[in-house]
Symmetry: C2
Subunit: 309 residues, 2 copies
Amino acid sequence: MDIGPTVLAVDVGGTGLKGSVVDLHGSTVSLRHSPTVSPGRAPEDNLRALLGVLAEDARAAGAEPVAVGVVTPGTVDESSGTIVYASNLGWNSYPLRATLEEFTGLPVAVGHDARTAGRAEHLASGASGSFAFVPIGTGIAAALVVGGRVVEGSSGSAGEFGHVVVHAGGELCPCGQRGCLEAYAAGAAVVRRYLARGGRDAVSTADVVGLLGRDADADAVWRDAVEALALALHGLTMLFDPAEVVLGGGVSGAGPALLEPLAAALAELFVWRAPPPLATARWGTDAGRVGAALIGFERAGLLPRFPAP
Amino acid sequence: MDIGPTVLAVDVGGTGLKGSVVDLHGSTVSLRHSPTVSPGRAPEDNLRALLGVLAEDARAAGAEPVAVGVVTPGTVDESSGTIVYASNLGWNSYPLRATLEEFTGLPVAVGHDARTAGRAEHLASGASGSFAFVPIGTGIAAALVVGGRVVEGSSGSAGEFGHVVVHAGGELCPCGQRGCLEAYAAGAAVVRRYLARGGRDAVSTADVVGLLGRDADADAVWRDAVEALALALHGLTMLFDPAEVVLGGGVSGAGPALLEPLAAALAELFVWRAPPPLATARWGTDAGRVGAALIGFERAGLLPRFPAP
């Protein structure tokens, strides 16, 4: 059976690579996971190996891949496909697109993970006018969509939502600034702050959320996280006036435990206008990978039609 | 002498109307000021009267006006020319464009004052990528330019930079929220806070600035204003990554007394990236009126060529 053109789409995360072969209708022909870093192998080595496996998967399915789409964290220059800086990956002015085009012999598109996921979520939301996608995981970013395009900024570093200061002179953020949103509301911060209060063993935000209503330290840390997020979303809304704010990433998996107190905190902060409607990611944790497929097809001059999930 | 087509351009301020007749080269054929409100006369009455005078000026100069451009504060729906809400002017869902088109018999463009001034400043700056114009007067706004267009937001209320919260739970803002940038750094706030500390007679920000280095209360109030502005500009930069931030409005007239401590405060807040370059408005307090002329010509299908001032 001829399934038509496919792309190899990879979401490069801090710990894992999520790769897939996707066709023009958004169907996933193959799905592969591998670690980002392994003994003696840098992220680019594992990425090449994964692309090799995915290309074989595509051919085994009778579909020649026409392009590659890769999304990564960090500061990404999407026009040149260069990773300006990605601390977790050890990339500094790394020519990712050129490297992968040479390796695969295919046209390659490189995108910023949150921004590209934001495009996938924006398409799925159907929102017109401005729109914000806020992935909350180990860190926090924002993809701001205006006029159908994600704001990249003048040096490719727009959307650093996690480093908006919500408490001047507040808690020290791993980035070196004080009082950043991320220092209170990122997954890593929630766990760190809970343990620092003498909380019991907790290794993830989900553990802390599971203790809500039964553990005063968990309650306090979560309240701080929600308050910080509300303050930062208030500021984002004052500047951007988004039609919708879609929360993604692991922390958004808390669902109602996040959305309900967050909506209440926003209702208190907004006095003369309504807060924007909130939703959780329609593509879930696949948004980055779906976005990678989207930019891969675009790079090949093809317009994919991904139905909303 | 035939000076070609002209537009009637008016900047509607909280206290005054600034009107002019402008030709395609940006030359001002006539300049008129009138109060926004006068005994027994609403803003729309004075605006109509001013447009009548300007139209006569244009004809006296041998130039038939081809369109009208008006910029106003408040929430403005630029596509329909409706003033959704402008508290200082008493306009609520007011069909300003339709009203003025009926009165003048000319095509009328209606723009948001800060956003339209931002377009004029963006053109003058020559910045590519994203750009921010921040007028600081009685209140504080921001025109965020992305891809050559000013972000309007999903309900026309983007750019409410003055109501970004810089100190959670902080000083009460006249808007009803707590800790807004405007509660510390707007012209009205600087004077109010100086007087509240028992400061001597000061009726304007310039009075307070004139006391810097000689009056501890003036120093403290100005330091708070600069710190608030730095915090808010830091957040704006995290989200937008502007190529340049241009400060306008009356308070920016403080010049080095504002720019120098502000640059120092920004240098302290930014840890892992450089703050954006700062400049003061190239069109000065004329940016709104110049922007009004720009949208007037665009409404008439003409492309003006205003040289940078």
